[in-house]
């Protein structure tokens, strides 16, 4: 098969996984719609905190309410897109710890897409829908800003997904670390939902390297605020870099994986 044929073949495989995944998500349409609506409301309620904050204070080190709206929109889009399309990454650590990877080894494909696209979390749709409200109404962005917003937010989603894959791979090295992976996930979410422009140099250095929250929150907002192509390209480069790193970490972890004999369940 030619290189182009192989790429098409892989894309067709991913598309087939996505189709099945999304069909599963809408198997209970009322639950899916309720989850999405509740998440939409949830994000708006969270924004009230910042409305109250900026009713008392004029700015937060140069950021105003509109910047916070941009931030919440970008993070909501990134998180929503990640869990809606690749909700399986929330279960990755448990699957590794339980020996559930065996099932995926029986397939003539790389196990990572199958694992990530094994589940869709419908509340992600509410996150994605709320992003438009944050951007266009509360954040003061125009329709013309949408391509840039979607580009940096989708890149942020890849960085978020890649970081989660890396933290969820911890059980390869530390079998009892599934709970720790969940706490790391909570920590990452916590950091990205709050403005990162308040931190000093050392903390920012960490946020741009080992715990790349800056590419999910701070830098995408700055890119849109300043209409900066350079900052947008840095976010896109981070998406490629952290995506590749996640695949590498997963493959290194696979070498240490010991079977859970779950393949017997296939019989």
């Amino acid at each position: 098969m030619s290189a182009r044929g192989r790429i098409w073949n892989r894309l067709a495989y991913v598309a087939a996984l996505l189709r099945v995944n999304l069909a599963g998500s809408f198997a209970r349409p009322i639950f899916a719609a309720t989850s999405a609506a509740m998440m939409f409301a949830n994000n708006l309620i969270l924004f009230l905190l910042w409305v109250i904050y900026f009713a008392d204070f004029s700015s937060l080190r140069g950021w105003g309410l509109q910047d916070l709206a941009l931030l919440l929109g970008i993070v909501a889009w990134a998180f929503g897109l990640t869990v809606f399309l690749a909700g399986g990454l929330r279960d990755l650590a448990t699957t590794i710890a339980d020996g559930g990877l065996d099932v995926h080894f029986g397939r003539p494909r790389h196990p990572l897409p199958g694992l990530l696209l094994s589940r869709s979390i419908p509340s992600g749709l509410g996150d994605m829908a709320s992003a438009f409200l944050f951007w266009l109404w509360l954040g003061g962005a125009g329709i013309g800003d949408l391509p840039l917003l979607l580009a940096v937010s989708t890149a942020a989603a890849i960085v978020l997904g890649a970081t989660l894959v890396i933290t969820q791979c911890l059980p390869f090295w530390l079998p009892g670390a599934a709970a720790l992976s969940e706490e790391l996930f909570n920590m990452l979410l916590l950091i990205v939902f709050y403005p990162q422009n308040t931190y000093g140099f050392v903390v920012r250095l960490v946020l741009f390297t080992v715990f790349p929250a800056a590419y999910i929150g701070l830098l995408p907002v700055e890119a849109v605020r300043d209409h900066s192509l350079v900052e947008a390209l840095i976010v896109l480069a981070a998406a490629i870099g952290y995506g590749a790193l996640a695949v590498w970490v997963f493959e290194r972890g696979l070498r240490r994986y010991t079977s859970g004999n779950r393949v017997l369940e296939l019989r």
Binding site: F31, T34, S35, A37, M38, M39, A41, N42, I45, L46, L48, L49, I52, Y53, A55, D56, F57, S58, S59, L60, R61, S123, G176, A177, A179, L180, E182, E183, N186, M187, L190, I191, Y194, P195, N197, T198, Y199, G200, V203
Partner: protein, 274 residues
């Protein structure tokens, strides 16, 4: 047809088992060492995020004497301590309902609601002690002081315990809603964010602009989050008495509501199965 537990106390004799459930909850929480370390790390991270945030905030703009980043740090140390100590226990009830395990629990002489609440109280008590100690250490490290006057410390502790029980009662109700909605997670998200906003998790309710301040103070969330932390902003005796009265009022209301929800869920299980 088996007799179904309505969730209300059946006999005081069976209530003697409650301390055992409290101890069990405390021991289970203590045994989860990785979880405890992760929780403590999360708490410290939150405190450091907000320490940076309050230091970057132009606090002089609100013209409140004595309101500085240090005081707001300690305010948040208390509010977050309560929120994190409670955790997400509603998931246990949801799981019991989803798996049908609640059927066996309902057959026991001790009411299911009382037993699980006692277990949660033990676990939350352990986490309150852990986070309280960790919060004082982190606060001293960050701010160079412990901004909790000794005179208000006993009242603060009691108020934090009442706030925790209030939040646990709400979580029990949320867990029971699985009987009707299947998955209570979406309801929980809304409840949690209302706790953040109307409870004054980040900003004291006294700094809220109208009409948010009145709305928040009239809600039960103020009794769960703002009430204990308010002692660090105003430790005057009349204010503390009013705060305790507010907490006890909501304890009675939410306690009664929990009883009614437990009974309704039990009736539903009896009529339609689990």
């Amino acid at each position: 047809m088996p007799r179904v537990d309505p969730g209300a106390p059946r006999a005081w004799a069976t209530m003697k088992a409650l301390p055992a459930f409290i101890v069990m909850g405390q021991r289970r929480a203590a045994a989860d060492r990785a979880g405890s370390v992760g929780l403590l790390a999360l708490y410290w991270l939150i405190l450091m995020i907000f320490w940076a945030l309050w230091q970057a905030t132009p606090l002089h703009e609100v013209h409140r004497a004595g309101l500085d980043a240090t005081r707001l740090f300690w305010y948040m140390a208390v509010t977050e301590c309560v929120i994190l100590a409670v955790g997400f226990p509603y998931r246990a009830v949801e799981k019991d309902i989803r798996t049908g395990e609640i059927a066996a629990a309902l057959m026991r002489p001790l009411p299911y609601a009382a037993a699980i609440l006692a277990e949660w109280t033990g676990a939350a008590g352990y986490r309150l002690a852990l986070l309280g100690t960790g919060g004082i250490a982190a606060g001293f490290w960050a701010t160079g002081t412990v901004a909790i006057p000794l005179t208000v410390a006993p009242a603060l502790l009691l108020s934090m315990i009442i706030a925790t029980v209030l939040a646990l009662l709400c979580q029990l109700q949320l867990g029971y809603t699985a009987a009707w909605v299947g998955t209570p997670a979406p309801l929980f998200w809304i409840w949690q964010k209302l706790t953040f906003v109307l409870g004054g998790l980040m900003i004291p309710l006294t700094l809220y602009p109208p009409p948010f301040d009145r709305l928040a103070m009239a809600s039960p969330f103020a009794a769960m989050v703002f009430a204990p932390a308010s002692f660090l902003l105003d430790g005057a005796a009349p204010t503390m008495i009013a705060t305790f009265a507010l907490q006890l009022f909501w304890l009675a209301v939410i306690g009664l509501a929990t009883l009614l929800v437990a009974r309704a869920a039990a009736a539903r299980f009896a009529e339609q199965g689990i």
